[in-house]
């Protein structure tokens, strides 16, 4: 069993007035092929006037993961990190970081992707943001 923090960001496309992104982070315990336990989930929205840089993305992920009361290796999709090689992104995080590999890690990313997407849709509707 391994403790991971799966993260995903929705909304990295331009809308009226800038970029409205929502990051979801889930503290999970996984085995090689299954999610064994979902311990905690947090989300964090971010408004940016300009296009997000890799550093913005790293900061957003770190801030969201900091809200969790569990430790674990941060797991993200390569596309979320602008397809940068692992050694580049690894060195930018203050905690352990890796790209998704195993079936369980891929399932975890799928889970947080749905969370970030649906929370962003809800926030856009509730806050009446023009998308």
């Amino acid at each position: 069993m391994w403790d991971i923090i799966a993260v995903d960001i929705s909304g990295r496309h331009r809308i009226k007035g800038g970029y409205y992104m929502v990051c979801a982070a889930a503290a999970l315990t996984i085995s090689a092929s299954y999610i064994e336990k979902v311990k905690e989930i947090k989300i964090l929205p971010l408004w940016l006037k300009r296009a997000p840089s890799l550093l913005d993305i790293v900061q957003l992920i770190e801030d969201t993961a900091d809200q969790l009361s569990f430790e674990g290796t941060i797991v993200a999709e390569k596309g979320d990190m602008y397809n940068k090689p692992k050694w580049v992104t690894e060195s930018m995080f203050s905690r352990a970081f890796k790209y998704q590999e195993s079936i369980a890690e891929r399932r975890s990313i799928e889970l947080v992707h749905h969370i970030s997407l649906s929370s962003r849709n809800l926030l856009i509707k509730e806050l009446q943001i023009e998308a």
Partner: protein, 428 residues
């Protein structure tokens, strides 16, 4: 563009292998990927006579730099190579430009894989699958190819017509026709799988990276003698045999191997082959344990990537094959590094036949559970016929004949439910 007979066999024709690498990548890994290209060329029957590598970002016109392409053309001339094979995916323009300079046919890794598949396709269905994959690959290129070749020329009467669309339309029509033919074959497969399930068989399939030793393991575990070679893509048509697990019946299927960067259109074209894996009750993921842990991880990652979204929670056993080539003291170290990617690991050597008992025990542990049941059947013709059916579908532990037939029985839940459905309430 049909795949010609001489192309099909590879025919020992001389080829030059080319790979472009982006800067700052792991040289060892790049060398491994190049080795994979050599193996693929060998599997297609080609004879590599030259190699060319360049580290740079892609050039939109030639993939490599202009100077390197001229070096390649010179190499083609001096070695009298008949074909150039690129590791990198080439756009239609790049294909056209490179072949203009080199004066010989140019293909990329995906076309090479297609050639191997075309060469090995023996059944009607696998031929259709190869044709479908090839057509799908061709469609986006069709329009561009025609316009590149006919830049100066107008088709039709007095040069006023235009046949670019019709070529593309023709391809699309052929794709639709093959798809419908394959769909009907898929339906047959589905009903066969359903029948096997009804019959009480559990379906187990072998999956894994190409050349992991799946066919050798298949031979060792079911005492069969299918072709197993130290070559990529030896198996293309799935083969199923009965597997005896101490009374429980299971069917083991040997399947086509995975490869890194296998494009989705190819996976889709081979859907009916890969469905054997996706729709089974248990997957044996075979890995070559004699390789370096980083390589094992890379191959496991490719396998997990192909499987994860399609298997719907089916249990996986990781079979670490070729342990005879590894020192026993190293196994713990390997497991420590690859553990997070290897569910339910079992060490075996298919060649030497070691670890087979442990593997079978692990298979039984992960198959869908059988229920243990005590039945009381009427001692009549109907009861006897049900009893003989029970013998076929599961394990009869004890039978006692008296006024009624008392049976201790083990089988899938579906079988038990069917017995109840067959008997009238007052007969149970």
């Amino acid at each position: 563009m049909k795949i010609l007979a001489e192309q099909k066999s590879g025919n020992g024709s001389k080829v030059i292998l080319v790979k472009r690498t982006i800067p700052n990548t792991d040289p060892e890994r790049e060398e491994y990927l190049f080795q994979e290209l050599r193996e693929l060329a060998k599997a297609a029957g080609y004879l590599p006579v030259g190699e060319l590598k360049q580290t740079r970002y892609p050039d939109s016109k030639y993939q490599l730099g202009r100077g390197k392409i001229e070096e390649l053309a010179e190499l083609v001339r001096s070695t009298s190579a008949e074909k150039v094979i690129f590791y990198n995916r080439l756009s239609t323009n790049q294909l056209f430009n490179i072949s203009e300079i080199c004066r010989c046919p140019v293909i990329d890794k995906f076309q090479l894989i297609l050639e191997i598949f075309a060469k090995r396709a023996t059944t009607h269905r696998s031929k259709l699958q190869v044709e479908l994959a090839r057509l799908r690959y061709e469609v986006p290129r069709a329009r561009a190819v025609v316009s590149l070749l006919k830049k100066e020329e107008r088709a039709g009467f007095m040069g006023l017509g235009d046949y670019e669309d019709s070529y593309e339309q023709d391809l699309k029509k052929r794709i639709a026709r093959i798809q419908s033919e394959l769909e009907s074959a898929e339906k047959d497969d589905e009903s066969l799988r359903a029948l096997r399930h009804r019959k009480g068989f559990s379906l187990v399939s072998l999956a894994g990276y190409t050349n992991a030793g799946k066919s050798t393991l298949f031979n060792a575990i079911v005492n069969e003698s299918v072709e197993a070679k130290d070559m990529l893509f030896t198996t293309l048509v799935p083969l199923t045999r009965a597997l005896d697990l101490g009374g429980r019946k299971a069917l083991l299927t040997d399947t086509v191997g995975f490869i890194e960067d296998l494009p989705h259109w190819l996976v889709d074209a081979f859907k009916s082959t890969l469905d054997e894996i996706f729709l089974s009750d248990l997957i044996l993921l075979v890995v070559d344990a004699s390789e370096k842990p980083e390589m094992i991880l890379q191959k496991l990652s490719t396998s997990h990537d192909t499987l994860w979204d399609r298997i719907q929670g089916v249990p996986i056993i990781t079979v670490l094959n070729k342990v005879d080539l590894v020192d026993e003291s190293e196994l713990d170290g390997i497991m420590e590094q690859i553990g997070y990617m290897a569910p339910n690991p079992v060490f075996v050597s298919a060649k030497k036949g070691t670890g087979m008992t442990a593997l079978k025990a692990e298979i039984i542990k992960h198959l869908p559970p059988w229920c243990f049941f005590s039945l009381s059947l009427p001692n009549s013709e109907k009861g006897m016929s049900i009893l003989s059916w029970l013998y076929e579908e599961g394990i009869v532990h004890r039978v006692e004949f008296g006024e009624r037939i008392l049976v201790d029985y083990e089988a899938r839940t579906e079988i038990i439910n069917r017995v109840h459905a067959l008997l009238e309430p007052q007969e149970i």
